[in-house]
């Protein structure tokens, strides 16, 4: 029997713009502080975490869109950081990581039913948003707290603060003209009692203009701490509704998960109607929202867990060793630095890089996520990806008996796809059916052949599509 591979398609990124805002955008674990009455807003952030033993490198990317002068970021850190522990990297690296781990849509085209079925799949990455616009914030002199260190790194002015008294930092920030969200004193006080230092970053406008960039680049910090966590509490204070956070973990042993919240795998591998191709972004957002709802808004979702050596299908190529080192993976072999890895198919297990990537997505607010995210690295190296399947029915002219059966089976299959989509997203099944019909996925069974027609042939009756 003949085997053939049908054309594969990459879904246009344009349809995914909406997802990019949530899926690819920025995130960091601190919060923006307004200097005036400007309402600041940080709804989505991306954080890459390299973690090996106690060694940690955080890469914090944000989608700040306000006035650069108003930008300020406060991140609780476990230790006073030296200048060499702070770095500014390029958006491209984290965007690549985002694209590599993004949930993907794959398409299959049904073969001529008179031939053997063969499928091939391809992936379309959800594009990630690069439209990060940043502004600088003016620095003020501190009072009431100890300034442990001050640095200018890249376009950022950075101050490392420690405070002995509860609310000391809040006082300092307020006296320096920052508007703190309500409840900040209490939360800052809690961190101070835990011996936490504070990393405050603002934009140095002069340095920023030298970069020639219209956005703020991700800030990185490297430190050692037994605590494997991400502070999110400050971020919930000034947030307008829920925030989206994407965590990309780069570890050696296996997948990470949260210990104080449930980590749930997103539904994957479902067959969904083909029209979703044009609205994959909406689909993904609706599905995510529906799953969040189903888990009583208290779960952290696993979107990707994979050995960095390969991918299948690939939403983007795996990161090069150079990129991985940029994100803190200090153990990668520098021998092939700069060489992009293009292995798309299964590579031998235990590859040279020994980097396992986990992508977590959480939609959080103070009510459902009162505590910071506490992580644990597990030994789990099982691959997982968010993958959604489109199956295009065969449109050609096939006349064998198998084709009749095939066509008769399609309405049932389409109905199952409609039900799956409705269940995943919470969309109305009637709307889905209507859109499917408009897209050519009809639910009307082809006219049934009468028994006597088989006796003497179909005559002038033609099998409809």
């Amino acid at each position: 029997m003949k085997r053939s591979l049908k054309k594969t398609l990459i879904v246009a990124a344009s349809g995914l713009a909406a997802v990019a805002m949530t899926g690819g955008a920025v995130a960091f674990c601190g919060f923006y502080v307004a200097k005036a009455d400007t309402r600041l807003f940080n709804k989505a952030s991306k954080v890459a975490i390299m973690r090996d033993g106690e060694r940690t490198v955080l890469t914090m990317s944000n989608d700040y869109q306000g006035d650069l002068k108003e930008f300020a970021m406060v991140v609780p850190v476990p230790v006073v950081l030296e200048e060499g522990q702070i770095h500014v990297t390029d958006n491209a690296v984290i965007d690549h990581l985002d694209a590599y781990t993004a949930p993907r849509l794959v398409e299959y085209f049904d073969e001529d039913p008179c031939l053997v079925y063969e499928r091939m799949e391809m992936a379309a990455p959800m594009s990630s948003s690069d439209d990060i616009i940043v502004t600088a914030a003016k620095r003020n002199k501190g009072l009431g707290v100890t300034i442990e260190a001050e640095y200018t790194v890249g376009e950022y002015d950075i101050v490392i603060l420690s405070a002995k008294e509860s609310g000391g930092l809040a006082t300092w920030l307020r006296e320096n003209g920052y508007k703190l969200p309500e409840g900040a004193d209490q939360t800052l006080g809690s961190y101070i009692r835990q011996g936490t230092k504070f990393f405050v970053a603002k934009v140095n406008l002069k340095e920023q203009s030298k970069t020639g960039l219209k956005y703020l680049r991700p800030l990185q910090i490297a430190f050692e701490s037994p605590k494997f966590m991400l502070p999110i509490r400050l971020g919930t204070l000034n947030a307008d509704g829920k925030q989206e956070l994407f965590v990309f973990a780069l570890t050696r042993t296996g997948r990470i998960e949260t210990t104080n919240y449930r980590t749930v795998k997103l539904p994957t591998g479902s067959n969904i109607p083909v029209y979703v191709k044009n609205e994959f972004g909406d689909f993904y957002k609706a599905m995510f929202a529906e799953q969040v709802e189903r888990e009583a808004e208290r779960a952290v979702f696993l979107e990707y867990a994979w050995d960095m050596n390969w991918c299948d299908p690939c939403a983007a190529d795996p990161l090069s060793n150079e990129e991985l080192r940029e994100l803190g993976v200090y153990w990668t072999d520098s021998a092939d630095d700069g060489q992009p890895i293009t292995r798309r198919r299964p590579a031998p297990s235990g590859g040279a890089q020994d980097v396992f990537v986990t992508r977590l997505h959480v939609s959080y607010d103070a009510a459902h996520f009162p505590e910071d995210l506490m992580f644990k690295e597990t030994g789990d190296r099982e691959n997982y990806q968010g993958r959604y399947v489109l199956r295009h029915p065969y449109r050609g002219d096939a006349k064998c008996e198998a084709a009749t059966d095939y066509r008769a089976s399609l309405p049932k299959r389409f109905e199952a796809e409609a039900q799956t989509l409705a269940s995943l997203t919470g969309w109305e099944v009637d709307d889905i059916r209507r859109k499917m019909k408009n897209g050519g996925q009809t639910f009307t069974p082809p006219p049934k052949e009468k028994w006597w027609e088989r006796l003497w042939g179909t005559g002038d009756k033609k099998v409809g599509e």
Binding site: P226, F228, T253, N260, K265
Partner: protein
């Protein structure tokens, strides 16, 4: 495929539990409760444990129990091994069956080999978990996997209430949870944190499971009430230290192993009679000094 296999598996577990139904042994209820939780976990919490891994745990535990019983010439007793196997299935995860088999073997053989004053030193499932998670990255626990839903915590606690009451050990989980709750609430008050943070921790299904189905094991807790209270409270303090000062999310397991290690010293001063499973029906306290029962 899993959907159809699951009710069948649960039905056979129920039948298995019913086999022991004739005797009013609290372990029967414990087996039934743990088996129900396992079914729930597989069906509704997507537990990452393959049927073959479950099979390996049960087979190893029962085989080790049988082998050790033969070597030590005592009656083969499946209930204890089943409880250990169920606990491991509920709490331990691995990439391959080998670490799970190792945990089951260590758990069961520790009962026979690591003894003091006629009692085994460690809680079997606990030492199995500690041994394989401490010395290799091949196995791990998932403290967050049960989630923090109040209703689930209530169901686990409800089942645990019944089982530990039948075993006359309701005091152990209550004292442990009381002490642990006091510590983390006090911490929250000191930090100025909202109480939703300690409440989140207390609603964790894995913590409730540990309290009602692991630390409460009568064979590895002191027999007298006050020594037992000290044991439960001490485990709570150690858990707190492991979790909040050493950042070990699975600190409760290490805490219990440590507490069990010092328990023989507590037992030395404990004049209460040794625990016997068969005499503990109906929640009556065991007043008779029993011989060492078959494990």
């Amino acid at each position: 495929m899993r959907e159809t296999a699951l009710p069948k598996a649960c039905a056979s577990l129920a039948r298995l539990a019913a086999l022991f139904g004739g005797k009013p042994d609290p372990r029967v209820f414990q087996i039934a409760a743990l088996a129900s939780l396992l079914c729930f976990g597989l069906a509704a919490r997507a537990f990452q444990i393959a049927p073959v891994e479950i099979g390996v745990i049960f087979t190893t535990a029962l085989a080790a129990q049988w082998a050790m019983s033969t070597i030590f010439a005592i009656r083969f007793e499946a209930k204890s091994a089943l409880i250990t196997a169920l606990s491991l299935t509920l709490l331990l995860r691995a990439n391959t069956p080998l670490p799970l088999a190792a945990a089951a073997f260590i758990a069961i053989s520790s009962k026979f080999l690591l003894r003091s004053q006629g009692k085994h030193i460690f809680n079997p499932a606990n030492i199995g978990i500690v041994a394989v998670t401490l010395f290799s990255g091949a196995a791990w626990t998932t403290p967050g996997q049960w989630g923090t839903a109040m209703w689930l915590a209530a169901i686990i606690a409800g089942a645990g209430f019944f089982v530990t009451y039948r075993a006359s050990r309701l005091d152990t989980p209550l004292i442990f949870l009381g002490a642990f709750a006091s510590l983390i609430i006090a911490r929250a008050l000191w930090l100025g944190d909202p109480l939703s943070i300690p409440m989140l921790r207390l609603q964790n299904g894995a913590l409730i499971l540990f309290a009602f189905f692991m630390i409460s094991d009568p064979k590895t807790t002191p027999d007298g009430f006050w020594p037992r209270a000290g044991f439960a409270a001490g485990t709570a303090v150690l858990s707190y230290i492991f979790i909040y000062h050493f950042y070990r999310a699975d600190g409760v397991f290490y805490a219990l192993a440590l507490a069990c290690l010092v328990r023989p010293a507590i037992d030395f001063f404990d004049r209460a009679p040794c625990y016997e499973w068969e005499r503990q029906s109906g929640g009556k306290r065991n007043l008779k000094l029993g011989a060492m029962p078959a494990e």
